[in-house]
Symmetry: D2
Subunit: 350 residues, 4 copies
């Protein structure tokens, strides 16, 4: 922490700031400049909350020097964390893994058909919402527990790992029973009760960036999970709120290298929500891999025009199969490889 004083700050005001810093248990160091005096801290080995000082007379600005996060940081752990959500289905290593499936589980026929289609195209995990956070209470809210049962059935048939969202602690317990990875959606990124709850569980967590969350806030949200003991967290960039109605969100791909620099956790990308328009999903998926994403999560549906939610951004299964080929060439170009579903020829080879 560094406290910058106003240019006309009096010696008494500077001394009062020094006192306040001492009261926090630290050692203040005043540094007089030509225009202003700054007051630094010596001896702190943990982040310091500067807000009590920010409002004191004569203070111009309080500047945070240390990162506020800890266990998620690269300084805490230098090597990449590889999160395995099922045998052979890992995020954060050399392989790029793809999660695909419909926005929502709608019926047994739909989810089973989706699972076969995405597996045949090379996905290693199946997505599909059983509990759906919808802006309107009158929109389809998901099939609930029955949806989880159908996802489990799809895993039995295809061997795909299952990733699905939970919206509260009770739902997270249910999801943990049926699925391989608990997704925390963008709207719940700072639902700290839910983060603590999944932090106490023994299940990997896919944590999506909030609509207007900074990278630091995303990492602090992950820190909530790690602080409770669960270190298997996969982050996900899914677009942030923007001013241009031409796209659903602004897909912020710089999140990928930034997270890789600041943290050891894997990060994947969700181009379906990122751009929100089916025809632009393939180019954004290619860009995500080229930017270094450890995986993708994509919305795919056998018949998107009849989907109960997110139809406009959902790929047809044939589009998805074509896209998987393109992604493979990009992955190779940057020295990585697409993960393959267990039991397939490429999977055996890998």
């Amino acid at each position: 922490m560094l406290v910058v004083m106003q240019s006309g700050a009096t010696p008494e005001q500077i001394e009062a700031v020094c006192d306040a810093i001492r009261a926090m248990g630290f050692q203040p160091v005043a540094m007089p400049g030509a225009q202003r005096t700054a007051v630094g801290l010596i001896g702190n080995d943990r982040p310091v909350d500067g807000s009590p000082v920010a409002g004191m007379p004569g203070v111009a600005e309080v500047i945070r020097v240390s990162q506020p996060f800890k266990q998620v940081s690269r300084e805490w752990r230098a090597e990449n964390t590889v999160v395995e959500i099922a045998p052979g289905v890992a995020f954060g290593g050399r392989n790029v893994a793809v999660i695909a499936g419909p926005c929502s589980v709608e019926s047994e026929a739909q989810i089973i058909a989706s699972a076969h289609a995405v597996r045949d195209a090379g996905a290693v995990a199946l997505r599909g919402g059983a509990f759906k956070p919808r802006s309107s209470p009158y929109s389809f809210q998901g099939m609930g527990k029955r949806g989880l049962e159908l996802l489990a059935k799809a895993r039995d048939e295809t061997g795909l790992a299952i990733v699905t969202e939970a919206m509260d602690e009770e739902g997270a317990n249910l999801v943990a029973e049926y699925a391989d990875c608990i997704q925390i959606g963008a709207r719940n990124m700072q639902n700290f009760s839910l983060l603590k709850a999944v932090g106490r569980m023994d299940k990997p967590v896919l944590l999506k960036r909030g609509m207007a969350a900074t990278i630091q806030e995303l990492l602090l949200a992950a820190e909530y999970v790690l602080a409770e003991g669960n270190t298997r967290v996969i982050l996900c960039e899914r677009g942030v709120r923007g001013f241009d109605p031409a796209t659903r969100n602004i897909f912020d791909l710089s999140a990928i290298p930034l997270v890789h620099k600041l943290s050891h956790l894997p990060i994947i990308a969700d181009p379906s929500h990122g751009v929100g328009l089916r025809e632009h999903v393939p180019s954004m998926a290619r860009a995500s891999i080229a930017a270094g994403a450890d995986g993708l999560i994509l919305e795919v549906h056998p018949n998107p025009d009849r989907a109960l939610s997110d139809g406009a951004q959902t790929l047809h299964t044939e589009q998805f199969a074509r896209l998987m080929h393109e992604l493979s060439t990009i992955a190779t170009a940057i020295g990585r490889e697409m993960a393959h579903p267990a039991g397939t020829v490429a999977g055996r080879a890998g």
Copy 2:
């Protein structure tokens, strides 16, 4: 819903869209234009989800015509809803009511002193967090149940109504036991499980606008509460995320007249979070009243420089007393009046 076709859309594509609309149970009406054809709907008496159509071949854009919310809308109820959170403490009528107090409950001495100070200055309700949503798991998380007990004690001593935040269903049940109004914070505005939970309770709800929530999303979040049966909802503008680091948020005062136009629910303003700097809170509080806010929620602390959270945006008690005088002249200027705490002379007169 209106479906705008691309300029080169074929008759077959237009017919396919008409079919899809019929499959949803509505009557399509094609309207050929000089450049493009548009397809409208006749006979719908409820909002229509256009996303399945948006991705169909030949479709340029899908435009929503009806508002997606219902019970919160002015069309549902023309007159203002007045929400009374305690006898004589009402939001949405002619009077402008002020909720004030510290960011967090820190100790018995602190909350009791705060309660007396804000009541003496004219506040009708006491705020103070017992459960605190903090970006970092290492920041002060609130006193929990003990904090609620101290708030109840402050009410016993001063007669002030109590407003405090809940972060999950369990917490909401506890808050409902001790307080007069359950606050849902900005980070939980789209925590739909929590919204449904408080919708089933018999307690007024103060719902804060999310960091990047549109007015429509704020109203839909309130709709979740009303849809469960609880109609006593007070909305709150508290600033949205912006690009300028000079302020903590952008305080979007246009939310006040917009909500008043679209909805019958009361809306108050939170200039403390809106601007995030103590010295600018008074001008933003005055502006809120002038814009037509039904009340304010303000952070006030006997010693903000030692507050455990939000110190930089918290008013000193003397600043608050001065501000209450200014607010009173603004309220009078627009034909309203400040609400007064029960038992005071002005309160008796009113």
Copy 3:
């Protein structure tokens, strides 16, 4: 400037940063901390550009300590600057002055009728665009020089001061010939050639905040004008780009107290562009005065439904007259007074 080193920075990297600072002509001071070392500067009496250092090995962050602006700052001049654009028409003093009129000059009849109407209601200056910056080249671009002649005629008839926009140096010279104050629009806030050109003229400048400009950038844009010798600059908040389509912009009223704190220049507000919807302009105009704005600029048209531009946000003349009464009570409530047009009874008294 403060350079924060990474936690593992080597002594050589720290020394290289010190060298680079010396090469800039300053004195480095290394401050070792428990986690990181920071390097400060002593002896600088002007803002320092830290970008060369930001990319050096071992550097985590470069923090700017001094404000980058100079002549516009309160530290440069403690008392308010009062900008008089015509005899008795001043911004920045105790009085609150209103500029009103149509978006564009459309015809002699329209601008003369507008001028009489806004003067009768209490405006002290007439707005009206002769050169119009329009997003599309196919939209009405203004009447050009003929529009300026009509504005001059309206001044002759009513005594109102004239404020109108210039889009380039040539236009600014023309505007200076006919009008009392040159407006620089939001889209040209960082058109530095134009800023320098008006900085060399002997005419007051109304500088509008850019669509996504920070307060610091607004002040630096003004600094361009002052640096050329023209100190008569009035700033204007007109809303910034936001994510909610419910309003045209987000009207950022915190700009008013922020500018008053940082600068001695007057600042007015433009609620017409700020909110973009006629029915919400009055509440935002009231809020602007309550927030401390030194004046307002409002779009008023005798027949807004037939206006060639901005019709939806333009007040009817009767609405404007009503609003002026309301504004007067707000101004009184905060100890100010509305300016009155010269020659009116109130004007004589003032």
Copy 4:
């Protein structure tokens, strides 16, 4: 244009809207719905400005149906426009072309060294500012005409095409004399006088997206240039203003496929400004190519730590050479090829 009436709109209000539409010269068509009536237009063959209608009594919303741009649209010209700025240096074809060089021209030695370095690594054009738009009037403003002379000298020595910025009409004339392509910077994207000026010139234009410009506004800005007769426009995504201080901007790569869909003009990407941090430029450059960009513009300097501007986001020449190899593999992976400088072996082959 579609006019949506409020649910309680009277027949008189609907008729008044129809009258207003007739007064504009179009044919209104009223479409009564279950909740509301909508009024459409038939017979318009050009974009309609709906703002006069938007404020009429009973009107809920005015929706624009046609795109407001014309000559830049894909509907105007179906095939890609290829813009050649010098013999063999083209944007918009199968090849991906790279413009590279320092932020500013600083000296003869610096620009000549830069030119050789970027040409050796495979760039086909040299960038370097002679006129610099800087937020502060006290920052380095560029070498002006002398800078242009040095750029011309660098072209003579290396054969690279020259791309450099103009800030006003006079500067554009000078730039046109010395350079191959006139750059219009983000801050001038809506400087319509400048756009018209370069529209009248016979020189290619590189038009950068404004800080908070929508894609539609970017295309309309290009329309200003085409409307004056100059069809050789290259668009450029360079990041938009965001809320996260972790990056200088949000690099909005979805602009690439969006522009390709809506327009026939080429679009390139500027990852240096997009992310603003040297270490993240390579991943964003790779992502740009994968997203389909027709080229890149990159900041490269022989000694970025001593650069007079933008040092923190500028690549070292060795980093740039490495990056060019990576980009080549990405281009191949999506079926494109990097353009090669004239006279090199690959260039001859191509």
